[in-house]
């Protein structure tokens, strides 16, 4: 007698074993491996995003550094022109005398007022900068009005810091005739024009004022 039932039972057992084995592998795969992979992929994506983000920040930083370098250069240029720091009146007197001679100003009388400090406030916020400002009044006489004009222009360029002209007066004091022009050409003669000038001589303080001052 053939034990077909036993054979069939063995088949069922084999099938069940295969099913359990398959389910175990599938469960291991879907419950452990795939979530683990997904987790690592997420972390990798996050790290990748982080790298991209830092690279973008580095690019921004490079651009910022370039802007700052440009601004530092401008600042150094201004500092070289004496726009930052104290005003040296002795230097100013030397420059004025030199310009007077250079531009044939026969008579120069000037007065440099005491330094005023002007606080420049920010439109919003409480920070500020301080500007040193000296008012200079000049009276001068010369032979030609172009001498006075050139003197004024040279003064504007020559004084350290920044010079703002607030008032200019020029007037002919006598009409030139042939004899006078001949005397002028020989280095003599009397002045033909006189003028007065008011300027603001300005430079920044190199250390900031305390806030609100």
């Amino acid at each position: 007698m053939i034990d077909r039932e036993a054979a069939q039972s063995a088949l069922v057992q084999r099938f069940a074993a295969a099913l359990i084995f398959f389910l175990a592998i599938s469960a291991g795969c879907y419950i452990y491996l795939l979530p683990d992979l997904a987790s690592f992929q997420q972390m990798k994506a996050a790290a990748n995003d982080g790298v991209i983000s830092i690279n973008i920040q580095m690019n921004d930083l490079s651009a910022r550094k370039a802007r700052e370098a440009q601004d530092r250069n401008k600042f150094d240029l201004l500092a070289g022109r004496g726009f930052i720091g104290p005003q040296n009146r002795l230097d100013a007197a030397r420059i004025l005398e030199s310009l007077r001679v250079q531009h044939r100003i026969s008579s120069l009388e000037y007065q440099i007022e005491p330094v005023k400090t002007v606080t420049i406030l920010r439109q919003s916020g409480n920070s500020s900068e301080t500007l040193n400002l000296s008012e200079i009044s000049l009276n001068m006489r010369g032979f030609l009005d172009s001498d006075l004009r050139n003197f004024i222009a040279a003064l504007k360029r020559g004084l350290p810091g920044f010079v703002t002209i607030t008032e200019v007066e020029m007037e002919k004091i006598s009409a030139p005739d042939a004899a006078l022009l001949s005397q002028i050409s020989l280095g003599g003669g009397s002045e033909l024009v006189e003028g007065s000038l008011k300027i603001l001589w300005q430079a920044m303080q190199d250390s900031p004022q305390p806030d609100g001052s």
Binding site: I2, F22, I120, D145, E169, E171
Partner: protein, 542 residues
């Protein structure tokens, strides 16, 4: 598109199912071992039935795991064509079983095959029902199945299964493009029976007949004569089924070559006769190993064809046994499929594990890159404000200088404008310029900061200019006044943004002045201090 037969053939070659076929005829039996559609070994059993059964058991016991397909080619086969009502797929087996019980009461081996939807007004499905009449021999052969260790696989009928063999040989022999005759007959010579005739109509079984071999008829001519008569009788039968004698019948004979030659000579009552030896037929049918020792008989060809089919055309095995076998097969193939799926799952898991390792390594690499970049970034940021003065303050100072620069008036260009407005008859006696510099202010902090000089707005600069013109070259007051007016117009054109008005004319003709003329005085002749005109310009130069 591949047919079901093609797909079955592919599956046969792919899986090469190993099984036994036990073909039972009226005068003997055949046992053959198959691998797919290839006969590996065979044995004709032509002794007494007891001896045949003993030998069959012996052969089967060599490979007890191989399943057995029984293929009956006996005389006692009954076929009926009938209709089943259109019931659902789930109910159909029950209805079929009931129909079989009513058609073949008491028969153990019976079954049916669906032919298609019924034609006509009554809906339903046409079925071909078949059974094998019970006999002592059949009972004895059936009992073998319960005595052997090999599992029974199926019980089939040779004529029904070989319908497709006939189609296959016809297609392979004639080519699929030629138009097939609706009526065809396959005549094969069997060692286990005699001459089997299978007649098909439109690819379905029409009738099947068996002509027993007789020891008294041996010569090919006599056999051919016998077959001529038998085929004539077959044609008489099928004429009742609608066969048109004028259309004719295409016949294929598979058997001895001398009988084939004799058949050609006797002029069979068929339209076309094609003869093959069993060796030729097996190559056309895609079967191998179907040649017996003599090379005369087609038993092996039928056995290989009928038993190698995975899906039988018609099974006469009891439904419950078929279902039990299906369960066993489901377990076997299910376990195999699960084993294959497990292997695939292991490979998939290994692939995921490898992917995890790779992803983890990439993640760690990226993380270290990110940390290094972050450190570099922090270092660069810390260097940014490391100069002697904060950059924000530098920008403020630059902005203030830019405001001063923007508010600055270029006196040279102003002199040029005034000069160009002066004519040759007029001299500038005096020039007064008053400039009201604007107030300075720092712009709000921007993020990101604008370039320092761009953030500086241009403040309006108010200017007041007074020109004293010497008109002493004019003697005529009217001309001098006209010259002063011309000068005003010229200045207005040159400085359109400024208000220009005359403060003094060579004559006191302005509305706010008092004009006094003494007797004898020519008012239109000017001299001395009267030769002066004053023009005032006010407004914004920037």
């Amino acid at each position: 598109m591949p047919s079901l037969t093609d797909i079955e053939g592919i599956a046969q070659r792919l899986f090469a199912l190993k099984r036994f076929v036990l073909m039972i005829g009226d005068t003997g039996a055949l046992i053959a071992r198959l691998s797919g559609s290839r006969i590996v070994s065979h044995q004709f059993l032509t002794g007494t039935i007891e001896e045949n059964i003993r030998q069959a058991k012996l052969a089967l016991s060599e490979f007890p795991k191989y399943p057995v397909v029984m293929l009956y080619d006996v005389l006692g086969q009954t076929y009926r064509r009938d209709r089943l009502p259109p019931v659902s797929l789930l109910d159909r087996p029950k209805i079929l079983a009931r129909k079989l019980d009513s058609l073949f009461p008491g028969a153990e081996l019976k079954g049916g095959m669906q032919l298609g939807r019924s034609t006509g007004e009554i809906r339903g499905f046409d079925y071909l029902f078949a059974s094998i009449a019970a006999s002592p021999e059949i009972t004895e052969w059936q009992s073998v199945l319960s005595q052997i260790e090999n599992p029974a696989c199926d019980i089939r009928l040779l004529p029904v299964e070989s319908v497709k063999l006939l189609q296959q040989i016809m297609h392979a022999g004639n080519g699929k493009l030629s138009k097939p005759n609706p009526w065809n007959i396959l005549i094969t010579h069997h060692r286990t029976g005699g001459f089997r005739q299978i007649v098909t109509r439109d690819g379905g079984l029409a009738i099947a007949r068996m002509t027993a071999s007789s020891a008294a008829i041996e010569s090919p001519a006599e056999i051919a004569g016998l077959l001529r008569r038998e085929i004539g009788a077959t044609i008489d039968y099928i004429t009742r089924l609608g066969f048109d004698r004028t259309a004719g019948l295409d016949a294929i004979f598979i058997g001895r070559s001398d009988i084939s030659a004799a058949l050609k000579n006797v002029q069979l009552p068929v339209r076309k006769l094609t003869v093959y030896t069993p060796a030729e037929a097996e190559s056309l049918a895609g079967i191998s190993g179907a040649r017996d020792d003599s090379g005369h008989f087609a038993d092996l060809l039928h056995a290989a064809w009928g038993a190698s089919r995975i899906i039988p055309a018609l099974s006469v095995w009891a439904l419950n046994l078929r279902q039990a076998r299906s369960r066993v097969l489901a377990y076997v193939w299910g376990a195999r499929a699960l084993a294959a799926a497990s292997l695939a799952a292991i490979l998939y898991s290994a692939n995921i594990y490898w992917e995890i390792q790779r992803t983890e390594a990439e993640y760690l690499q990226l993380e270290s890159t990110r940390a290094a970049l972050q450190q570099r970034y922090d270092e660069e940021v810390s260097k940014l404000d490391s100069g002697p003065m904060p950059i924000a303050r530098m920008r403020d100072i630059i902005a203030i200088q830019a405001q001063l620069q923007n508010a600055d008036i270029d006196l040279n260009s102003l002199y040029t404008v005034i000069n160009s407005a002066l004519s040759g008859n007029v001299r500038l006696h005096a020039l007064d310029i008053e400039i009201d510099p604007p107030e300075l202010a720092l712009a709000p902090v921007q993020d990101p900061p604008l370039p320092a000089d761009e953030s500086a707005e241009t403040p309006p600069v108010e200017v007041g200019i007074v020109l004293n013109l010497d008109l002493s070259s004019f003697r005529d007051a009217e001309l001098a006044i006209a010259e002063a007016d011309r000068m005003i117009q010229a200045l207005r054109l040159a400085l359109p943004g400024m208000k220009i008005k005359i403060l003094r004319q060579p004559l006191r003709i302005l509305p706010e002045e008092t004009l006094t003329v003494k007797p004898g005085e020519n008012v239109l002749t000017i001299s001395g201090e009267d030769r002066i005109a004053k023009i005032e310009l006010t407004g914004r130069l920037k």
